[in-house]
Symmetry: C2
Subunit: 341 residues, 2 copies
């Protein structure tokens, strides 16, 4: 027996949520997300049963990653861009991966306030960042939440993140298209962007191309376009990508063009088989990440380990025990305490 | 019993190597490093016994991290800088953490050839990057090798790395002082340096400040000095750090000044108690890294797991099994197969 064995209860819960969710019940979707975000063992069993049940229906949405530091107008962009999509008849889910909000316990009110019009639309669904202590944890559950949104019939799943640490890479690893939102800036601006992110970007969107900042936004766009030209084009992508564009989220200027580029890229990749190959690769990568995270979780929650760790940590901090020796001791303790052993 | 139990054999080997190594026997040092780099279970036991035995004697060296991409003159710098130190009566060990050489199986000949004068000096010890497939593995063993060098009486342990992926952070996490070596460049040069590395640098050394490149090196130095001034000074450091300097490794120009800055910073941190606090923090960090790496190693080497993983991976890649479900199945298999269970 290698598959996890759900209990009758968790099976029943998964069945009920799955059918309500597929029928488009928003409260069922919200409840399903809460279930996958829960760390309780019985919730986890039910969440896995639910994900297994919905998995064949998943994969239908365009998954868009969007990063931008505070102040670039990310909420305004998502509100305007999301409104445009729902007015075209698309169902849009917005998920947040924000490791900085994890510490403060999420920001439901904040997220709904900052996207007021969008949050009132029945075709839109906005979910704030789960309040988990660790970036890995935040991102892990977001991956499953994407699947839930797809099963619930959303056409576009937009995963937004702030540019903190590895959060951009993690979001890029769970989406099909990755866009970076920037504010107009002087010539020094290029420095401010981590080199790595240029390599994972499909679109660089310079916001605030309106009023006094219009010319500056265009200059910044041109700077980035130049920088992107210096980078090697990914062989699987069409001419002209990655691309830099200037937009005004406030006036909804350029958003139709952004959507046109996104759909063009998405369709190109889909017809070339690149989309499918990339999603498969991502899935295998998620599996390994889950294994690493799960190993550590099981280690940390082992009673024998948690009883001894503070002592080992102190001995290492005081220079009385080499770190490698302490680690081996802890691992040996875990070995003897593993469930099923 | 929480400490690993070495066998009589591994104890005897550790005893012998420890006393020869402390007496300054270079062949014993080389053999001890090979032992620490080995993945064989009996070697690992002996290595941990050896590290435990030498641990009280470790910590005496100044641990310097040095990063630089190929072409900036890193070997020439290490050769000139190392020669200056040995001529001042110091014993210098040079260790490499090079994830790119890991694939080709190390580069003993290469390292000795490129530091010809230094490698012939009895006061110097040059050890190439261990040939391990994975950066984590390379860095893990280098941490233990630093301790061996300290027990063998080396005054300065210089850990060099190329700027690939996380290698710089890993080296900074095992050293006291971190320097980045750069070549002179145009105004675009600042972009080329990953933002993160500016934050971990104590010294930025612009090399090749000689001949035609002298003026360019000075301009590049000034650019970096300006960029460093914009960064927040670490509260524990003296005025003026992090610092940018121009040097010529080829002519050994400016190397005495580099050493003077390094010793000044080192002594400041030591007398302020910052050095000790940082080393303690690093040791605790290593312990947790060892635990994570060790958990995965034990997982991957479990026969039950390795028998099932290719099948699970295929099912995930083909979209037949959600990654989270596959991961849970693999973790449950491991749970029942853990040694000691």
């Amino acid at each position: 027996m290698t598959e996890p064995r759900p209990t009758a209860d968790s099976e029943a819960l998964a069945d009920e949520l799955a059918s309500r969710l597929e029928a488009g019940d928003r409260r069922a979707l919200a409840r399903a997300i809460t279930l996958v975000e829960s760390t309780r063992a019985d919730h986890r069993r039910a969440a896995l049963a639910l994900v297994s049940r919905l998995y064949p229906k998943a994969g239908s949405a365009m998954r868009i990653g969007l990063s931008g530091t505070p102040g670039v107008g990310k909420s305004t962009f998502i509100e305007s861009f999301g409104m445009m999509l729902v007015e075209r008849g698309l169902k849009v889910a917005v998920l947040a991966v924000d490791p900085s909000s994890a510490r403060t316990g999420g920001s439901i009110l904040g997220d709904k306030t900052r996207m007021e019009r969008l949050s009132r639309r029945p075709e839109a669904f906005i979910r704030p960042s789960p309040s988990r202590a660790e970036l890995g944890g935040v991102a892990r559950r977001t991956r499953e939440t994407i699947l839930l949104c797809e099963a619930a019939g959303f056409d576009v799943v937009l995963v937004e993140t702030v540019g903190v640490g590895q959060s951009e890479t993690m979001v890029a690893d769970m989406t099909d298209i990755f866009a970076l939102l920037l504010a107009p800036g002087g010539g020094d601006e290029l420095q401010g962007v981590k080199r790595g992110i240029m390599e994972i970007c499909d679109l660089i969107l310079v916001n605030k191309a309106d009023g006094d900042l219009r010319a500056a936004a265009e200059r910044t766009r041109a700077d980035y376009a130049g920088a992107l030209r210096l980078m090697r084009r990914r062989p699987q992508d069409p001419e002209g990508f990655p691309k830099a564009m200037a937009v005004s989220a406030l006036r909804a200027d350029g958003l139709a063009e952004v959507w046109a580029e996104m759909t063009a890229l998405f369709e190109w990749r889909r017809s070339a088989g690149v989309l499918e190959a990339r999603r498969r690769e991502q899935a295998v990568g998620w599996m390994w990440q889950e294994i690493r995270a799960g190993l550590f979780e099981r280690f940390a929650s082992s009673p024998r380990v948690s009883a001894r760790m503070p002592g080992l940590e102190r001995e290492v901090a005081e220079g009385r025990l080499p770190p490698e020796v302490a680690a081996t001791a802890a691992l040996d303790l875990f070995g003897a305490a593993t469930p099923g052993g």
